[in-house]
């Protein structure tokens, strides 16, 4: 699933490690997410959306 995690993360000034720690996942999971290789659960997607200070999931993930 395509997403804007990398772009939004950089805008928020977070490193992959920081985003991983805040989301309760490993850095490897964040890397896989940013590369679109892993589709997160709804819970994790929601957590990431909040950390990246976005209002809607669609602002982070391409849900099509």
């Amino acid at each position: 699933m395509k997403n804007k995690i990398s772009e939004l993360r950089k805008q928020t000034g977070l490193t992959q490690e920081e985003l991983a720690k805040n989301a309760g996942v490993t850095r490897q999971t964040i890397i896989s997410l940013e590369q679109g290789k892993y589709n997160p659960s709804l819970g994790l997607a929601n957590k990431i959306k909040k950390i990246l200070k976005q209002k809607y999931l669609e602002d982070v993930f391409n849900l099509e």
Binding site: V25, T26, Q28, T29, S32, Y38, P40, L44
Partner: protein, 143 residues
């Protein structure tokens, strides 16, 4: 318990169990292994003392390792990867065990006219079935 889960990560590439992930994990491993080497090779220790010490140390070691493996933190992606990898490994083991049973059965039938199978193979398969059924029962109840 003695060891902490955050000192380790699950072993992915070579075998099962844990790999030290921090310097504390390496120290823990050394502290765990050193007494075994000392007790095995130190002179002037009776054989009985050696065996009893190693047995007690193995129990402490095993319980601590199980505790670490159960409490080790894994995110959803790691849990999924572990589940798939362990499932594939288990299917391979079951396939080989089933082939082993078939081979031993036919070999013993031809040679002696009766079925002779290593009971450990049967025990392994039965225990695996029990663990699978119990786990599915627990998960169905939980969710």
């Amino acid at each position: 318990m003695i060891g902490k889960a955050e000192w380790f990560k699950r072993r992915k590439w070579l075998g099962w169990g844990l790999m030290p992930a921090t310097w504390q994990g390496w120290v823990y491993t050394l502290v765990l292994v050193l007494p075994i080497i000392l007790v095995t090779y130190l002179p002037n220790i009776s054989e009985k003392t050696r065996v009893v010490s190693l047995f007690i140390w193995a129990i402490i070691f095993s319980l601590d390792l199980i505790h670490i493996m159960v409490t080790i933190n894994k995110d959803e992606r790691e849990k999924m990867h572990e589940a798939i990898a362990e499932r594939n490994a288990l299917w391979t083991v079951i396939f080989v065990l089933a082939f082993g049973v078939a081979y031993e059965t036919s070999k013993s039938l031809i040679a002696t006219g009766s079925v002779q199978i290593d009971p450990l193979i049967i025990i392994a398969i039965v225990l695996g079935l029990v663990v699978k059924a119990s786990t599915n029962f627990y998960l169905d109840k939980k969710d």
